[in-house]
Every structure is written in structure tokens, then in C-alpha cells.
Amino acid sequence: MGFILGGLTGEEYDRNYSDAQLLRRIVGYFRPHLGKMLFVALLIALNAAALALLPVLTSRGIDGALARGAQGVEVFNANLPVLLLMVAAAGLAWTFNFLRQAITARVVGDVVLTLREDVFDAAVERDMAFYDDYSTGRVVSRVTSDTQDFSNVVTLTLGLISEVLIVAIVFVILFSINVRLALITTAITPVILGAALAFRWIARRTSRQAKRVKAEVNANIQESITGIGVAKAFRQEAALHADFERVNAEAYRLGLKQGLVLQSIFPVLGFIAGLGTVVVLYYGGSAVLAGAVTRGEWFLFAESLALFWFPLTSIASFWSQFQDGLAASERVFALMDTEPQVVQTGAEPVPELEGRIEFRNVHFAYKPGSPVLQGFDLVIPAGQTVALVGHTGAGKSSLGKLIARGYEFEKGELLIDGLDIRSFDLVSYRRQLGVVQQTPYLFTGTIRDNIRYGREDASEEQVLAAARNVAGGDWLDSLPAGLDTEISEGGRGISMGQRQLVALARVLLKDPAIVILDEATASIDPLTEAQIQEGLETVLKGRTSIVIAHRLSTVRSADRIIVLSHGRILEEGTHDELLAAGGHYAELFEAYFRHQSASYDPEGLSGPARTPRPRG
């Protein structure tokens, strides 16, 4: 089974941003919370200062008490202020933490929320060409998981602030003790920073890979679960499992790599810092022996050094840890920045439409090189019912998709009521458009919710009326709980024909100016369909409608029938005209009716086909 390791090359729209670009955008998300962030930083600083001060206070306190020759309980009493200060510090430390956690949680929560809303908006803005290329699992993983990883950026940044403060304080102390030793220490700092910067690159690369493979895992699971029915029917669970194990093993490999890279920086930096301690110990000791430094200074210095290393290595490791968040935000921003193929030149709110549709010399291809329409011309006057017939792949659905503006055409013009479709605000345009697909998608919820979908404001009576208008409403009786029947994701829980009926009701409720029925009744039995037809004819009156069907009985009553082949109009006219003309339509119709006639024998028509005999 072909398993494409697409995950590691990322998606086509993925791009590499520089840290500066990413930071600028990230900062943008934090700007509204700047006040709170600064407050938290201040708290952290105060906390750090209190921590640094306390040991000093205790030693001063004891020394003072003893110097005055205190004895017994006096020592305790003399230090009472220090003790009280400590109790106060306890309360303060708790309060600081309280405020810090509460505020940080709100800032992080809100930033992630905003980011999620933005990336969601970007995702639903993407056109159908985008969704042809990128699977649901991949998109979902960007919106949920990657935004989550993004929040690490915040937590890390807040931590960074306190580390920087501590380093600054200790640095001053070190210099105040002994400049020469301080300079030796400072000499090691660039080594640490250098190592950290080197790590940054590897960290970014491995993080990027880890995130891609994570999306790959998501996509794999998503597809396996969606296609589980097919896997069961063909008893191919093992193949899916093998595929999954491959992706999972790859995810393990890259996840481990990323984990090790991100974590290894700590021992490396710890080792460098340890070497620094050795150097200070040796040269400091030598300097003491040479009389250049006092022993006390040396001692104090070496003690303070430990205080210096820890935050310094934290700062140094920050950049590499930060890469995980950056790699995540890179993926999020890439999704937001994807160039859409469907480009609107304007966003004019669309007036109430009459429904006149005009294709003017339209050229269209899904993929460059395989044109579907080449110089297509067609005018559908407002209110007309047009049936499209022709072999599968002729381009019938594509016409519907262009009218729904799911795809961009390359050349020509598509005019609705004489207005350029590119100038429309798509949401307000599509509100006046009703589309029913062959395999309609339904959402989790009741049948009622699904009929109401897109028209949340519709009243109960309107929903009921729309449902009744489809095939006289008889179908509602065969549903376990009528309109209250619960359906699962996609439409599982009711039969395909019932799904089509729901979709039809949905469109009726929407009351659109233009209706596109794309094989909308293919899975419905002829009796029910006949009932639908009666209802539809009254309902479609006054609307422009495009009906695509293979069942020619469905097509017959259209105002106009268009025969398509390879993206070209072969014939058009009414049913009677076309039959009389004796062309392609007549042929199709003939074949169709021969099909339905009592004496039809397909075996007799075409020669015996070769039988595939795999395996034996």
C-alpha cells in the first residue's frame, strides 16, 4: 500500500518564517494584554527581589544580635522583625503566585482563544481547491494542537523575565566582589550563548519535523476512522494498522529526536557551567596563592557563581525551548497566510437576486493542464429550470461548483444578474443559493437542526412546512423519531435517500433564488422521487434551477435541457425538441428507455467483457 511520507515535507503552503517575523506577529497577539503581562512581570521581579534579599536579611539579623551580645530568648526577640518579615514574605509569595497564575491563565487562555478564532476564520475562508488538497485531519491538527503548543511561548516568556532579573542582580554582585574573577566568568558566558544559538537551529528543524509528523498521525487516524466501514467490508484492518504503525513509528522517531534535542541542551549547558566553576576555582585559588585576591572574596565569589549559572543556563536554553512554540506558530500562520485561489475583487453585499446566470467564454481547470471548460458560453434566464445531462465527467457538476464559487476560473466572466460574481460578498451571495449534493453532508444533531442549518432563525412551522413540501412529508414517518431523529456525524444513522430528502428540505427552507440539484435524488426510489417532483415543481417555480440527473424521468419536465460532453454543449432545447431533433439526447433517452423497458437485455447489447480473475 502506498504510504506517502508527505508529512515530512509539510504542506505546499507551509513556509519558513524568520524568528523576527514570527515574533512580530506573536507580539501582536499579546499587545491587548500588555498591561496584565507587565503586572505579572513586576510581580515576578518583586518575588525575585524578595528571594534574593531574605538570606541577606537573616545573616545580617543574626550577626547583629550576636554582636550586641544577646543571649537566650533575646536572640529570638532581637530577630523578631526578621521573623515577621519572613511570615509576611510567606503571605506575599502566596499572593504573588495567586495573582501570577490567575492572570497568566487568563492571558494565555485569551491569546490562544483569539489565535484559534483567527485560524478558524482563515480555515473556513479557504476555497474548495484548498480542501481538495489538504485532508481534514491536517487542518484540524493545525487549529487545535498547534495553537496549543503556541501557548508554551507565553509561559516560557514569563519565566524568562524573572531569570533575566536574577542574572542581572547576581551579575552586579559578582562584579562588586571581584572584577577580575567576574571577567573570567563573563568570558564563559559567550560560550554558553553560542551553544544555545547552535541548538536553536537544530531545535527548530526537529520541532518542525515533529509537528509535521504529528499532523501526519492525525491525518492517518482521521482517515482510518472515517473509512473504517470500507476497511471492515474488505477485511483490511491489518493494512490500515500496518500503515498506522509506520506513521506512528516515524512519529516516535521524530518525537524522540525533538525531545532529546530540546532536553540535551541542559546537560550541555550544565557541563559548560561546571567547567566555568572549575576555572574559577583553579584560577581563583591560584590568585589567592599569588596574593592577588583575598580568600574571602574567592570564597564568596565561588558561592555566588552557583546562583549565576542556573538562571543563565535557563536563559540560554530558552531559545531552543522557544523553538517548539515558534514551529507551532509558523504552521498556524502559514495556514492563515495561504493564498486563496478564489479571489474576490470586491465584497459588495448582494442585492436580492433574480437568478440570471451567464457564463461568458469561461475557461476552467481544477489542475493546470487538464481543462474542464474551454471557452464555455451559457445564458440561463432568471426563473428557468435547466437540466444538465451527459456522461459522468462531462463537467456538469463543475458548472454548479463554479456558480457556487467553490473554485476560481481562469478566464472569461461569470455573471449573476449581470453582475460579476467576483465582486460579490460570498456569504451574502451564497445565502441566495441552494445546493443539494448527491451525498449530502449532515451534522450531528436532529433532523430538525439539519433542515434549519444555514437558517437558524427559521421557526418551527417553517421547518415543518419545508419538510412536508418534500415528497409530501411521508418520509418523516419512516424515521424513528420524525424530525427529532438524532443523526451522527456526516449523516450516519439515516439512509442515503433520507439524507437527500433532508438536504432538499434544507434548500426549500432556505428559499434561494438559484437552486442547484446535483444528482440530488439519485438514491431515492422512483415513487418517492415522483412525489418529490410534484412538490419541487411548485417550489422551484420562479427560481432559477439547475438540475443534474441521470434518471431522465427527472429531467424531462425541465424548461430546457442541455447536453454536455467534455465541457462543451452538444445540444440544447426542450425534451420534445431534442427528441424530435434525433441527436445525442434522443440517443441517451432511447438508451435509457430501452433500459427501463420490459424486454431489455444488456448482455445481448455489448460483447462479453473480460473478467478480472485475480489470485485465482
Binding site: G2, D63, A70, V75, V87, A90, N97, A102, A105, G109, V112, M128, Y131, D132, S135, T136, N218, I221, Q222, E223, I225, G229, V230, K232, A233, F234, R235, E237, Y252, G259, Q263, P267, F271, G274, V278, G285, S286, L289, A306, T392, V435, Q438, T439, G454, S478, I494, S495, M496, G497, R506, E519, I524, D525, P526, L527, A598, P602, P608, P612, P614
Partner: protein, 592 residues
């Protein structure tokens, strides 16, 4: 169920080599996962200890060096001690690497194994189970919840062990200085343990709610994206946006709640109070002259070290709780009972294709009324039986009982005279091919999609099947022919093209029983003729159940069974039914 497996839950699919874990509680489950890698676990503990020892040696050696400058051979001693320190620093680095290497490996394996276990179990769950799930929620569990297990160990457990050492070490040193000074630190340890319990207990519901909210978010989003075409067509973006924002906000609110629990974290208070109490205690002892100033300062310094564990635990215990919540959600899926069993000991012979329904009643789980009621019919080997009836009458459901997608409530479905429940599921399903109503294609190449049911098929076999399904022509016109990768929704193909791929896929497996559920609804009559010819040729000697609304197919069936509202109301040939059955006449009158 005839042969229920001994202890493991029933499943339609199992991996022989798979490890079995204790799934009774989340903690036991995690333990049984971790205990697969005892070496990593031991390595982790040992290297963490080694790291702690090396770390405590550093100040000792430095202390020796400070003293050494008084000695006559000061220069030499200093050099020796510096080299020694270098050795210790090096060893400490190695130990640190060892810790990281073992815990990271352990954590990543835990994630990998848990995900594998979950996915394998999902593959083995019945269709009825999957019908109940929301894909996005399952994805959230398989992708993100199991990831919490990883984070629970690295850095969670890693830092907890660190904290433990940093908790015990100062206590030991304090005891070495003066046992009395242990009074408040020990009280602290007790209070700390109590506070952590309380903290965990408070985090627990929040973590669970947070993971649930995440699952919800993912499920909603997955639906929106899967149905994006409808979302756009219905101009429902504002609605979807609102729904998404609602879910995202629900998650945010849980996140904030978690922050609020973390804000009330008590050990911060405790550790500072301990600091003050120990200091006061020490001052009293100092006043009595029973400890020295140096000792007091040292003890205070050591109490300060306790701050480390107190600081870290706010974070590590939150990770552990998230891990447990993730484990709980993962286990909930794994442990969910599924109705069917693959029955490996069952009958596994070459199928002749005799299908018999005996008084079969079937009700969908959760539904009130049965979808099929007291159903009896017989299809002999080689027969073609057409199934007709109005939309929703139960036609598709009927066919799903044959390959045991669902099990009957009462009555029996027999294939070759053997109850399908007594068949080996593998053997049963491999000999039955279904061309389903809603064609699902995988986002793989055309070739792989056709060969899905027979992964070992040669290219020639694939092409032959495609030709028979009248798909070869359009496939060769695709940009990369048979290697063209199909989009997820199969969206790069038109409806009829997809159906033809599904037909090719089914033909390739050379089934004994073929089920066609409205398999040609999107195909025009002329193409259908050609396909039909191929299918007919394939069907010679095979049994087929055909659901269709096309008279051309109905007519050539050996027998037609007619459904109305979950009951079999009539069976016979086209001519017979047309003559005697009023509903049949009504359904097909438009054609005559």
C-alpha cells in the same frame, strides 16, 4: 456470541504480536505500560541519583579547595582538586544525559504504545460503535490525550523524582547538623504531602473537563471541516464561527479554571512559613548555645532548598493530572464494549454463496422500533436477488447483516447454512464484497484504492478490474494516471467516477457474494450498461444482492424482494410483482 475471548474485550480485529496491558484503571494501565521497559526505568532512577550525588559533590570539593590553600602543597592540591572537580562535572553531565535519554525514551514510547493500543482497539470495534463516535473526538484522544502521557513522564515524573531528591537531601543534611532542627521541616513534609493531595484532587475534575473540552473542540471542528462544502453552500460560516468560538471559549474557561486552582496552591505559603519557623526555632537553640551561628545559617540555607520541590510541584502535579485525565479518556474508548468478535476459531471454508435469513429482527442500538422485522428469505448460490423498497425501508441495513457489520437481535442469518456468527469473520468478510452507497476512497493513489481489498494485486490485475468497471478510460486521462492521488473526499473525481472505482475495488477481490448498494446511482445509462455487463460476467456463479432503483437491473434479477417499512412484503420476479403488488406498481409505474 459463540466463542468469547477469555479475558480481553471482544474485538473484530487483533494484532497477534500486540502486548496486552492492564486496562482496569488509568494508574494500573500506565504502570503496565511503563513496566514494559524496566531497563529504561532503572536507568532513569540510577542516573538521576548519580546526578544528585555528583551535584552534591561539587560544593564538597570546592570546600576542600578553600581549605587547601592553607596547606603547604597548596598549588598541587588545588590542581588535583580542580581536576577532580572537572571529573565530577563530567560525570554529572553524563548522568544528566543518561537521565534525559532514559526518561525521554520512556515517555515517547509510552505515547507511541498507548496510541498504537488505542488505534488497534479502534480498528477492532464494531461499526455500531463507530457510528456513535465523533471522529474529531476520537482523533483528539488518539493524538492529544495520549500525548499527555508523554508529558506526564517527561518532564512530569522526571521533575518529581528530582523534587523528591531535593526534598530528602536537605532533610538528611539538616539531621546531620542537628536532629532537633528537623522539627519544622518534617512538619512541612507532612503538610506538603497533604497540600499536594488536596491540590491534585482539585485539579482532577478540572483536568478532565479540560480534556473533554478539547475533545469537544476537536470534534466540532472536524465536522465543520469535513462538511466544509456544505458550510460554504449554506453560507453558514458565521454560525460555524459562533459554534467554534463557543467551544474554544469553553476550553479557555477550563484553562482559566485550572489557573485558578494553581493560584490557590498552598505549598508556597507552607515553605515560607517553614522557613520562618525553622529560623525562629534555630534562634532559640542558638540562644541556648546548643548550635552555632554557622550551623543555623547552614540549616536556613538547606530549608531554602526545599523551595525547589515546592515551586516545581505546582507544575509537575498538574502534568500528572493531565496525564491521568488523558489516560482515562483513552481507556474509556479502549474499554468500550463492542458487540462483535472476530471469532478466529469459527468456520472458514470456501463460500458457496447460499444466503438465508430466518425470522430475522434487527434494531439499531438506541432505536425504539426494529429496522427489520421477522425477515425470512433465501438466496441460492449464484442467484441475483434485487432488493427494492422505498427510501428508508431497510434495504441497506439488510445487506449489512450478511457480512456481519451488525448482529441480529433474534433469528439467524446463515451463509452456506452456517450462522454468520459462527463464521470466522476474516473468512466471511473476505468472501463478501460490498459496493457501498456512499463511496469512501482513501487519499492514496487510484491504484492503491482499487487494490485496497487485495494489497498484493499486480498492476495488471488492477487494470483489468478498472477496465471491467469502465474506469480505465478516465483513469488514464487523470494527470498521473493510476498514480494520481485522490483527495480526501474523493473530491477530485465526479460521483460516477468514484462509483466506478468502488466497483473496480470490489471486483478485484473476487468475492463469492457481491452486494451492490445503489452502486450505479450516479452513472449514466450507457456507462451503466457497460459496467453491468462486466459485473454480470463476474457474477456468474456468485450470489449477489442488488439494491437499485433501475428497472434494467431489477428485471434481470432472478428474484426481487420487496421491503416496506422494515418488513418483507413480497417476493417474486418482476413480472409477478408487477402483476400482483400494488406498492411495486406504484414505485415503478413511472417507467411503464
Amino acid at each position: 456470541m459463540t466463542t468469547p475471548a477469555a479475558s480481553t474485550p471482544t474485538s473484530e480485529f487483533r494484532v497477534d504480536s500486540a502486548h496486552t496491558y492492564d486496562t482496569s484503571t488509568p494508574v494500573r494501565w500506565i504502570v503496565s505500560h511503563v513496566s514494559r521497559y524496566p531497563l529504561l526505568l532503572v536507568g532513569f532512577v540510577l542516573s538521576t541519583l548519580a546526578f544528585a550525588i555528583c551535584s552534591s559533590l561539587v560544593p564538597r570539593i570546592a570546600g576542600l579547595a578553600f581549605d587547601a590553600v592553607d596547606r603547604p602543597d597548596a598549588g598541587q592540591a588545588l590542581l588535583t582538586l580542580s581536576l577532580l572537580l572537572m571529573g565530577v562535572v563530567f560525570a554529572r553531565g553524563l548522568a544528566d544525559f543518561g537521565t534525559i535519554n532514559s526518561i525521554e525514551r520512556l515517555a515517547q514510547r509510552l505515547e507511541r504504545d498507548a496510541r498504537s493500543e488505542l488505534t488497534t482497539s479502534l480498528l477492532g470495534k464494531s461499526q455500531a460503535f463507530h457510528d456513535r463516535q465523533r471522529v474529531g473526538d476520537v482523533m483528539a484522544r488518539a493524538a492529544d490525550d495520549v500525548r499527555q502521557l508523554n508529558l506526564m513522564f517527561s518532564p512530569g515524573v522526571q521533575l518529581i523524582l528530582d523534587s523528591l531528591i531535593n526534598l530528602v537531601t536537605p532533610l538528611v543534611f539538616i539531621a546531620a547538623i542537628d536532629v532537633r532542627m528537623l522539627l519544622f521541616p518534617l512538619l512541612f513534609v507532612a503538610a506538603f504531602a497533604w497540600a499536594l493531595r488536596r491540590y491534585s484532587a482539585r485539579l482532577d475534575p478540572v483536568s478532565t473537563a479540560m480534556r473533554e473540552a478539547f475533545g469537544h473542540l476537536s470534534a466540532g471542528l472536524n465536522e465543520t471541516i469535513a462538511g466544509i462544502e456544505l458550510v460554504k453552500a449554506a453560507a453558514a460560516e458565521p454560525y460555524e464561527r459562533r459554534r467554534f468560538a463557543q467551544n474554544a471559549r469553553a476550553f479557555r474557561d477550563q484553562f482559566v479554571r485550572q489557573g485558578d486552582v494553581q493560584a490557590r496552591y498552598l505549598p508556597y505559603l507552607l515553605v515560607w512559613l517553614t522557613f520562618a519557623a525553622t529560623f525562629g526555632h534555630g534562634l532559640l537553640l542558638l540562644g541556648q548555645g546548643s548550635i552555632s551561628v554557622g550551623e543555623l545559617v547552614a540549616v536556613i540555607g538547606l530549608v531554602g532548598v526545599l523551595r525547589g520541590p515546592a515551586d516545581l510541584s505546582i507544575f509537575t502535579f498538574a502534568m500528572v493530572q493531565m496525564g491521568l485525565a488523558g489516560a482515562r479518556r483513552t481507556l474509556a474508548l479502549i474499554n468500550e464494549e463492542t458487540e462483535l468478535d472476530e471469532n478466529p476459531e469459527g468456520y472458514a471454508g470456501v463460500m458457496k454463496g447460499d444466503i438465508r435469513f430466518e425470522d430475522v429482527t434487527f434494531t439499531f442500538p438506541g432505536a425504539e422500533a426494529p429496522t427489520l422485522e421477522r425477515f425470512t428469505f433465501h438466496a441460492r448460490p449464484g442467484e441475483t436477488v434485487a432488493i427494492v423498497g422505498q427510501t428508508g425501508s431497510g434495504k441497506s441495513t439488510l445487506t449489512k447483516l450478511v457480512n456481519r457489520t451488525f448482529d441480529v437481535d433474534s433469528g439467524r442469518v446463515l451463509v452456506d447454512g452456517i450462522d454468520v456468527r459462527d463464521w470466522n469473520m476474516e473468512s466471511l468478510r473476505q468472501q463478501i464484497s460490498v459496493i457501498e452507497q456512499e463511496v469512501f476512497l482513501f487519499s492514496r493513489s487510484v491504484r492503491d484504492n482499487i487494490a485496497f481489498g487485495l494489497p498484493g494485486a499486480t498492476f495488471d490485475q488492477v487494470v483489468a478490474a478498472a477496465k471491467a468497471a469502465q474506469a480505465h478510460g478516465f483513469i488514464t486521462e487523470l494527470p498521473q494516471g493510476y498514480d494520481t492521488v485522490i483527495g480526501e473526499r474523493g473530491a477530485t473525481l465526479s460521483g460516477g467516477q468514484r462509483q466506478r472505482l468502488a466497483i473496480a475495488r470490489a471486483l478485484l477481490t473476487d468475492p463469492r457474494i457481491l452486494i451492490l448498494d445503489d452502486a450505479t446511482s450516479a452513472i449514466d445509462s450507457a456507462t451503466e450498461d457497460e459496467i453491468q455487463t462486466a459485473i454480470n460476467a463476474v457474477l456468474k456463479g456468485r450470489t449477489s444482492l442488488v439494491i437499485t432503483h433501475r428497472l434494467s437491473q431489477i428485471r434481470r434479477a432472478d428474484r426481487i424482494i420487496m421491503l416496506d417499512r422494515s418488513r418483507l412484503v413480497d417476493q417474486g420476479t418482476h413480472a409477478e410483482l408487477l402483476e400482483r403488488n400494488e406498492l411495486y406498481q406504484r414505485i415503478f409505474q413511472r417507467y411503464d
